[in-house]
Amino acid sequence: MSFVPGQPVTAVVERVEIQKLRQGENLILGFSIGGGIDQDPGQNPFSEDKSDKGIYVTRISPKGPADLAGLKMGDKIMQVNGWDMTMVTHDQARKKLTKKREDVVRLLVTRKSLEEAVKHSKCSYPKH
C-alpha cells in the first residue's frame, strides 16, 4: 500500500455498504476516522508505511452500523460512494461520509489480510 508518485495505486479492496442510523437529528455511521493529507502520518498506528496519508478507521462502536456491515478497525478507506479517499484532507473525508442527503455509504476498504487471502488463493489452486 505504499504510494509511488505518478504510478497508479493498486490494492485488493472489499466493498462495504453501511446503512446510516438515525439518532435524533444526526445520521451516524458508528466509526471514527483518522488520517488525511493534512495530518501527521507518522502517528498512525494502523498503517504499515508511515508515510501513508490515507484515511484509516480508528475505532468502531460495537453493534453500530459499521460493525454490523463488517468494517474492521485499521481498514484504509479507498473510496466513499465513488469519491476518492486516498488524497483528501481529514475534513474533506469527514464531509464525504456525513452527507445529510445520503442514507447509505458504499465504501471500498482495504486491509492487509485481504492481500494475504488473495495470495493464498492464488497459490493453493493450481493454474489450469
Partner: protein, 526 residues
C-alpha cells in the same frame, strides 16, 4: 611533619668511635663520586644507590668493623617535593654559594641591553651638544625650524624613555638555557645602527667642522625617528607575535598523569617551556607522592601465592632474579583477582575519607559559631557583669582551633596531605579567614581540594628545571615536537600540535523564515 626514614645500604656513622670513623672514611672514598651528583638542586632528595650490598665482600678483611652499624642508621629523605627535609637545611648554605655565581649570569643580558639603551638615548643629545661645545662661534644661526625640531626631538625622546621603561625594564622571570634569539638580534641591530650613525657623524660633522647646524639637528632627529621604529619592531617581535594562538600544547605530568591543554602562539621551545611552567604552577594540582601507588597489600598478594624454596644454595642475586621471573610467569598464568581487591580497597578508602570529611566539616562549623566579630557599639551596651574578652585574630584563631584540631588531623591523614599543612600554617590560615569574615566553607576550601602547586611554594627560592629536547631549544615550535621539563622527581612531557585551520562559512537566515506547523492527528467520529 612526617619524614619517612628508610634504611638504605650505606651507613652514616656516629663519630664517637675511632674505629668506625676509619671505616667511614674508607666507605666515603668509595662513594665520593656518586655523591657530588646529588648535592646540587635545592629540592635535594638524596637518592643513594646502595654502593655495597649488605653482605660486603670487603668487610671480612677489616678487623675493626662496627657490628652495630645496621641498627644505628637512619637516612632522612624528603618524601614530598614541597617540604623541607633536614638535608635542605644543612645544604642551604651550599646552595646560596652556588646560586650567587649563577645569578650573575641572569643579569648579563639585561645589563647589556640597559647600556645599549642608555647610549642610544644619549646619542642624539650628544649630536646636538658637541658642535655647540666645540665650534660654537662658527655655527650658522638657526631660528624657528630648529626650535620646532628641538621640541619634537624632546618629546620623541620622552616617549622612547617611557616606552622603554614600560616594556623592557622588567626583571627577567626565567633564566633560559640559550640566548633569546630575537632579543640578541635587536640588540645587534641597535648597536649597528647607533655605531653607523656615530661613524657618519664623526666623518661628516666632526672632522670638517660642519657649520650647518640645522642639518645636524635634522640628523639627530632622524636618529630618534629610527630608534622609535626599532622599538616598534622590538615590540612586535618580542611581545605581539606570539599572542595569536597557533599551537596547542598538551602537558602531561609523568608521575600521576595529570594533563592540561594550552594554546600558544609562535614561540621558540625555550620560551614555550617558560610559559608552560608559569601555567603549571597555577593550574596543576600539587604532586602528592603518597597518593600514587596501589596499596602494597594488593601488589604483594600476587607474589605470595607461590613459595619458592632454595635447596642449599647461596642467596646470590642471580638466583633471585631467576626465581622472581618464574614467579611472575606463574602468577600471570593464574587467574588474577587483584582487580577485585583494588576495587574494594578503593571503595573502602573513599568511604573513610568521606566520613572524616563529614566530621571535619561539622567540627569546623561548630567551632566558627564560638566567636563573632566584636562591634564597637557592643562595648557600650554590654553589661559590666559579663565583660567579654576582646581578642585579636591570632588569639581567636588559637581559641577555636582546639575543638577542630583532631578532626582536621585525621582528615589530613586520610587524604595524605599532612605533610603540606603544619599546625602553624593551619592556625595562620584560620586567622586569615577570621579577619576577612570568611565562612567555614571558605576556610575549608584549602584542605578539601588539593590546590595548585603555587599555593604550597615558598617564593624566595628559584625553581630549577631541565629542558630536554631533541631539537635545539631556540628552534621555533612545530608540529610533532616533544620536549620534557624535568625535575628531580617528576617531569612534564609537552607535545605540540598545530591548531586546525578553520573554514568558516556564512549562512543567512531570514528572521521571517521561522514558521511552524502543528503536527495534527485528529480523529473524527462519523
Amino acid at each position: 611533619m612526617d619524614n619517612e626514614s628508610t634504611y638504605s645500604g650505606y651507613s652514616y656513622k656516629s663519630s664517637h668511635s675511632r674505629s668506625s670513623r676509619k671505616h667511614r672514611e674508607r666507605r666515603d672514598r668509595h662513594r665520593s663520586k656518586n655523591r657530588d651528583g646529588s648535592i646540587r638542586g635545592e629540592k635535594s632528595v638524596v637518592i643513594q644507590a646502595p654502593g655495597e650490598s649488605l653482605l660486603d665482600a670487603d668487610s671480612p678483611r677489616e678487623d675493626d668493623r662496627d657490628d652495630n652499624w645496621g641498627e644505628t642508621t637512619t637516612v632522612v629523605t624528603g618524601t614530598s617535593v614541597d617540604s623541607i627535609s633536614n638535608e635542605d637545611l644543612t645544604q642551604l648554605s651550599k646552595d646560596s654559594d652556588d646560586s650567587s655565581a649563577l645569578e650573575c649570569r641572569r643579569y648579563i643580558s639585561p645589563a647589556l641591553g640597559a647600556i645599549l639603551g642608555f647610549v642610544s638615548l644619549i646619542t642624539p643629545l650628544a649630536f646636538l651638544a658637541l658642535p655647540q661645545l666645540l665650534w660654537r662661534d662658527s655655527l650658522d644661526p638657526c631660528g624657528t625650524p630648529c626650535e620646532g625640531l628641538y621640541i619634537s626631538l624632546a618629546f620623541k625622546l620622552l616617549i622612547l624613555l617611557i616606552s622603554t621603561w614600560a616594556l623592557f625594564l622588567r626583571p627577567p622571570r626565567a633564566a633560559l638555557p640559550r640566548f633569546f634569539v630575537f632579543r640578541c638580534l635587536l640588540l645587534a641591530l641597535v648597536f649597528l645602527f647607533v655605531a653607523s650613525y656615530w661613524l657618519f657623524y664623526g666623518v661628516r660633522v666632526l672632522d670638517p667642522r660642519e657649520t650647518d647646524y640645522r642639518g645636524i639637528v635634522g640628523y639627530a632627529a632622524s636618529l630618534v625617528d629610527a630608534l622609535l621604529f626599532i622599538q616598534y619592531l622590538a615590540l612586535v617581535l618580542l611581545e605581539v607575535r606570539h599572542l595569536q594562538p597557533a599551537f596547542s600544547l598538551k602537558v602531561v605530568r609523568s608521575t600521576d598523569g595529570v594533563s592540561r591543554f594550552y594554546n600558544v602562539g609562535h614561540l621558540s621551545i625555550q620560551r614555550a617551556a617558560a610559559w608552560v611552567l608559569d601555567q603549571y604552577y597555577s593550574d596543576f594540582p600539587v604532586y602528592n607522592p603518597a597518593l600514587l601507588n596501589l596499596p602494597k597489600s594488593i601488589l604483594t598478594k600476587k607474589m605470595s601465592a607461590f613459595k619458592v624454596y632454595n635447596l642449599g644454595e647461596d642467596n646470590s642475586t642471580n638466583n633471585s632474579t631467576g626465581q622472581s621471573r618464574a614467579m611472575i610467569a606463574a602468577a600471570a598464568r593464574r587467574r588474577d583477582n587483584s582487580h577485585n581487591e583494588y576495587y574494594y580497597e578503593e571503595a573502602e578508602v573513599e568511604r573513610k575519607v568521606r566520613k572524616r570529611k563529614a566530621r571535619l566539616v561539622v567540627a569546623v562549623e561548630e567551632a566558627f559559631t564560638h566567636i563573632k566579630r566584636h562591634q564597637q557599639e557592643d562595648a557600650v551596651t554590654s553589661s559590666p557583669k559579663h565583660p567579654r574578652e576582646v581578642m585579636d585574630p591570632r588569639e581567636a584563631a588559637q581559641a577555636i582551633f582546639a575543638p577542630m584540631a583532631r578532626a582536621m588531623q585525621k582528615y589530613l591523614r586520610a587524604t595524605r596531605q599532612q605533610t603540606y599543612h603544619s599546625m602553624e600554617s593551619i592556625i595562620s590560615h584560620l586567622q586569615f579567614c577570621i579577619t576577612h569574615n570568611m565562612t567555614p566553607k571558605a576556610f575549608l576550601e584549602r584542605y578539601l581540594v588539593p590546590g595548585p602547586t603555587l599555593q604550597y611554594l615558598d617564593s624566595n627560592r628559584g625553581r630549577r628545571w631541565t629542558l630536554v629536547s631533541e631539537e635545539p631549544v631556540t628552534a621555533s615550535l612545530r608540529q610533532g615536537h616533544v620536549f620534557c621539563l624535568r625535575r628531580l622527581d617528576l617531569s612534564l612531557i609537552v607535545t605540540v600540535t598545530p591548531l586546525p585551520f578553520l573554514h568558516i562559512a556564512e549562512e543567512f537566515i531570514d528572521p521571517k523564515s521561522h514558521k511552524f506547523v502543528m503536527k495534527l492527528q485528529s480523529e473524527t467520529s462519523v
